[in-house]
């Protein structure tokens, strides 16, 4: 007997294809693992055994008929609950959408299904993806599998925790300001935000339309690459006008050496206020790993990085206010009864349906887009966006990849950061990438000596060079000898595979 949580997505797909086990056996093992672990993790908002067993049966039937199997055939996956999947509710962890039934399936989810993936459920998140700890979910908290008294990060906290707890080898999250990379860092798993436009956003509930990007969580870089092949392999999505063609095989150059390549780092960031000694040590470990493999470390500067948080907290809330205006209680979402006028009904429905942080972000966005304020902040933020974009462009003339922290610190305790503006600083190392659109990936680097919690590094690449970004991530994973592992309290707990 083997525990399915010890298998990567790649190994599961290979085992199913070779007949070592059936997709149905894997699906049952995943559902057992979820059943056994969920009471202590809370990563899921819905578990979907019927969808999972149906999909698994189709894979097994296809194999029995000798049909060619997809690259993810039989691999259990879960997706963040802001992604539509027919047969599930898409709640965005909000009372507003508590009963919202997905009318169609998001392209990113459909592409995983087309590759033979088996959908086991929808994962918890900060409400409408506003947050860095998953504490703003309207339904329940998600515990960090490495220490259940601590947050998993956010906003895709459920997707990160599900992978770290060994409930599923692969999940999807979305990243508007760090919502894949930061929870990946806090849960000790790989989390990739591809370049904006690489993955279709069709069917993903919008937060910041010029910032949002979907990407995978996995325990290995190879599994993230496998997921990317499924997500982008079919080319651009005609249903998303920002979707771009990026037909590359992410597995093809994954093991390439990085010898002679240039890795940029920003000395001032290493001394940044709030970056804990453990995270500094992780940065040094990553730098050593690259030099050991013959890469050259190059000092760079991103002079306008200190304005990134401010620019983000203008652009993000402004776009969120615009996007969330659609939740007026009429076509979908919570509707307050007994209101005399449309305006009253809308204001009352939104007051009841949205939680505190969702209200705060929309209020901030409404203010920033109001007459007079718009020029001072919104227009200026878009000008700062140009400066930050130019900073990165200049850096990538000199280096192939940039190394920086993903999170200033390891996972914090529930309730530890109660001031919203302090919580916003959790994104200090991640938001600049959403502003410019480039891809970034969190790579786990083992455990901090003091805390015993996962530490990590972030790698940032030029736009649409996500394949090479993963080659660097793989080099770091290989050198550090620290692939993402299932948190020890959960390893082997439920989910036996005969």
């Amino acid at each position: 007997m083997a525990s399915f949580d010890q298998l990567s997505a790649k190994q599961i797909a290979a085992g199913v294809a070779a007949g070592a086990f059936s997709a149905t056996e894997v699906a049952r093992a995943a559902l057992d693992a979820i059943d056994a672990r969920e009471p202590r993790v809370g990563a899921f908002l819905q578990v979907t055994p019927e969808l999972a067993l149906d999909a698994a049966r189709r894979v097994d039937e296809a194999r029995a008929k000798g049909e060619k199997l997809g690259a993810l055939a039989g691999v259990p996956v879960a997706v963040k609950d802001n992604m539509n999947l027919v047969g599930t509710r898409t709640t965005c962890a909000s009372r507003m959408l508590e009963n919202y039934e997905s009318p169609y399936t998001a392209t990113c989810v459909q592409r995983l299904l087309d590759a033979g993936a088996v959908p086991v459920g929808k994962t918890n998140m900060d409400e409408f993806a506003f947050g860095s700890s998953t504490e703003s979910s309207a339904f329940h908290r998600t515990n960090n599998p490495w220490d259940t008294e601590r947050v998993p990060g956010g906003s895709s906290g459920g997707s990160a925790a599900a992978v770290a707890a060994g409930e599923v080898p692969l999940t999807l999250g979305s990243d508007t300001g760090g919502s894949i990379r930061q929870p990946a860092a806090l849960c000790g798993v790989v989390g990739l935000k591809p370049t904006y436009g690489a993955v279709s956003r069709y069917g993903v509930v919008a937060f910041g339309s010029s910032l949002d990007q979907v990407g995978p969580f996995a325990r290995t870089v190879e599994d993230a690459a496998l997921a990317m092949n499924a997500l982008v392999g079919a080319g651009r999505d005609p249903l998303d006008s920002t979707s771009q063609d990026c037909p590359v095989d992410f597995l093809e150059h994954l093991e390439d050496p990085v010898e002679g390549m240039r890795v940029g780092y920003i000395p001032s960031l290493m001394e940044a206020e709030g970056l804990t000694p453990e995270m500094r040590a992780a940065m040094r470990k990553a730098m050593d790993a690259f030099t050991d493999q013959g890469a050259e470390l190059v000092e760079i500067e991103l002079p306008h990085m200190d304005a990134a948080i401010a620019a983000y907290y203008v652009i993000g809330p402004a776009e969120a206010f615009s996007n969330l205006a659609r939740f007026d209680g009429i076509r979908y979402g919570y509707q307050e009864e007994g209101c005399a006028t449309l305006a009253e009904q809308s204001a009352a429905s939104r007051a009841h349906g949205f939680g505190a942080e969702a209200k705060r972000r929309q209020m901030l966005g409404a203010y920033l887009l109001s007459s007079g304020v718009y020029d001072e902040y919104y227009f200026a933020a878009q000008q700062v966006r140009t400066l930050i974009t130019q900073d990165y462009a200049r850096a990538f003339e000199r280096v192939d990849v940039v190394l920086m922290p993903a999170s200033p610190r390891t996972a914090f305790k529930f309730g530890e950061i109660s001031d919203p503006t302090q919580m916003y600083l959790s994104d200090v190392f991640t938001v600049s990438l959403n502003i410019v659109g480039n891809g970034g990936v969190s790579v786990p680097l083992g455990l901090g000596e003091e805390s015993g919690l996962p530490v990590s590094a972030q790698l940032v690449g030029p736009a649409f060079k996500d394949r090479r970004l993963l080659t660097f991530a793989r080099a770091l994973e290989r050198a550090a000898g620290a692939r993402g592992t299932v948190a020890p309290d959960f390893a082997g707990k439920g989910g036996e595979l005969a």
Binding site: Y100, E101, P103, Y196, G197, S210, P238, S241, T242, Q244, H304, D306, A307, I309, A310, A311, Y313, V314, F321, A325, I330, R331, Y332, Y334, Q335, G338, C339, A340, T341, L342, E344, Q345, S346, A347, A348, R350, A351, K359, R360, Q362, M363, L364, G365, A366, Y367, Y377, F379, A380, Q382, Q383, V384, T386, T389, D419, P420, T421, Y424, I435, G437, A463
Partner: protein, 101 residues
């Protein structure tokens, strides 16, 4: 200049979010605190800097071929609405004083 509670009440009307008295107080404090962290973008000389509204600079409208294709069915489109009638979304009076829906 700090936002007053009256300012915040006006923003809430604009945002269509009904706020209770306690929420109004907390929201006023929040907005003033958050606006303070936005200061760095006001510190740069941005004269002559072009704005970037979108990471994909040359984004153009994408038009599909003018060919018949099926979209969301009426049932699916109405399926999540709290109130429908005659194959339509049902809403309260738009002009006011129309009585409850």
């Amino acid at each position: 200049m700090a936002l007053s509670r009256e300012d915040v009440r006006g923003i809430a009307d604009y945002a269509r979010i009904a706020l209770g008295p306690d929420e109004l107080e907390a929201m006023t404090a929040y907005l003033n605190d958050t606006i303070a962290i936005l200061d760095p973008i006001l510190q740069y000389d941005l004269e002559g800097v072009e704005p970037t509204y979108h990471p994909i600079g040359d984004l153009a409208n994408v038009m599909r071929d003018d060919a018949p294709a099926s979209g969301l069915s009426l049932d699916a489109a109405l399926g999540n609405a709290a109130s429908t009638r005659d194959r339509s979304f049902r809403v309260p009076s738009i002009l006011g004083d129309g009585g409850a829906a």
